[in-house]
Every structure is written in C-alpha cells, then in structure tokens.
Symmetry: C2
Subunit: 155 residues, 2 copies
C-alpha cells in the first residue's frame, strides 16, 4: 500500500492548521480537519468541545458533520486531513464511512487509531508537521485538564 505524501497534501494540511488556529482563537482545543474530495476541500471542521459544550465534535467529526449527508461514492474518493492523529471515535468515523486515505499532521502529542485504520485497509500518511506539534504543545501547557477531558482521561 502506498503511504507516501502526495502533491497537494501540504496545502490541505495548511487548511486544517488554519481551522485548528481558528478553534484556538475561539478559546477551544486547536485540532482542525478538512475533508478533501478529488483534491479539493469539501468541508472544514475543528474541535468544538468548548465552543458548543460538545463531547463528539472533534476536528474530524465536526468536519464530517459540516460536510452533511453524503453518498458512499463521495466518501470513497475522499481524504481526511487532520492536524492530530485521530482518537478512537474519529478513527471509527473514518472507518464507518470507508474513507480510504488519512493525512495526519502529527502523532507525537497523541497516537490514535492509526494501526486499526491500516489493518482495515486505510492509507495513513503522517507528515510530522511542526505547526501542528507546536499548536498542541502550547495548548497543553496552558490547559492540561481540558486536553485530558478531550481524550477521556481524568485530571
């Protein structure tokens, strides 16, 4: 399976980083995502735990929600681009909709369900992007308990 970055991945990740920054500017958790279809951004999302008091609006799920109801044939041509390795819930959402490719900004801060995605045939690309790592490092230093809440950990 090809697991290398493709032309356009950097630009899509930049859009996800922009979404993460917007979330942080709103007082939220700086994780952003875009759903790209045929190389173009179809929808953008960012974590809205703080903004909406939401337990399920992570970057990826917010992006899927903003994309609306789509036929399976569209998901089949999609790439989920996210600034941070997807948690169990977002991993499951990607699997539910059979999205075949996931581009991840970084997995140093948090390693999600990448192995499960690969075991189910999803192509996973990790770009190890300094902007993504920096956003999470600064956020966790400022609000460690909010971060723990978002990944289901006490404290």
């Amino acid at each position: 399976m090809l697991t290398m970055a493709q032309p356009g991945d950097d630009e899509l990740l930049s859009a996800a980083v922009e979404a993460a920054r917007r979330g942080r500017a709103e007082g939220g958790i700086p994780i952003g995502a875009v759903l790209a279809v045929d190389g173009r951004v179809l929808a953008t999302g960012w974590n809205k735990r703080v903004q909406l008091g939401s337990a399920i609006r992570h970057g990826e799920t917010d992006c899927l929600e903003n994309a609306g109801r789509l036929p399976a044939s569209v998901y089949a041509r999609a790439t989920m681009v996210t600034t941070l390795s997807p948690c169990d819930m977002c991993t499951g959402a990607i699997l539910l909709y059979r999205i075949p490719r996931v581009v991840i900004g970084e997995n140093r801060t948090f390693l999600g369900g990448e192995d499960l995605l690969r075991s189910r045939g999803v192509e996973v690309v990790v770009l190890d992007d300094d902007r993504c790592t920096g956003l999470m490092r600064d956020f966790i230093a400022e609000q460690p308990s909010l971060w723990n809440e978002d990944i289901g950990v006490e404290g």
Copy 2:
C-alpha cells in the same frame, strides 16, 4: 469477564427502545440509546441523520452529546445501552470515553464493533430483543437506501 445481563438492563433497554420509536415517529432511523450511570439514565439519544441532516448523530453519539461534557470518573461508572450493535464510529466513541459496559438490544440486523470493544476490556451484553429487531426490520423494508447511507454503503 462477566457478560451477563444485570437487573435493570431490561428497563434501560426499554428506555432506549422508546427513544428509537420517538426517532422513527420523527421520520428518522429507529435506533436509540441511553447512557446510564449508577443504574440511572443520565442522558438519552436517538439517530438524527434525517432530523438534523447529520452524519455523526447516531443513537450512541447523540446520547453522548446530550450528556454534555463529563469527567472521566463519570464515564467510568457508565453503561451505554443501545438498541442496535454499535457501528465503528459509536464503538470508537465508547472506547474514547472508556465506558466499561455496553448493553445491546440486538445484533442480527447489523453487527458492529463488539469484538473490538471486548478486546479493549469492555463488557458487552447482547439481549437479542424482539422489539429492537422488529423496529429495524420494518424500517429497512420501508427505507433500505436510508439505512445503507447510515452505515456508509452505496444504494
């Protein structure tokens, strides 16, 4: 691991069935869920794909959303009760929040991530309830393409 029904499970499932019926009465997909903590219903949810045009509001995730932001210590005492075996996304949401017990109405219509839940230490109880099976049988006979959309399948 104990994987037997406990006193109170039937009553909790009845609340989830009631939620599923309410969703169907709204024109939606008849899958409902309740989040029980210390044996009492903390939150109720049902699939809102049709009602909200939502790609992520399944029974279980809608229930988690309605429960709001909770500390990990509450999820640790919770049971997710759902009328239908949880899809990959809802399986992942249960794992994210480390909910230790899942009670499932039926898994004849659809078998979700039960093995993954068990492999991560979650207790899974399947009640094989005729009300749940009947709701889905009637719904799928009436709207097969809507059901396929909800599980990410074309058609």
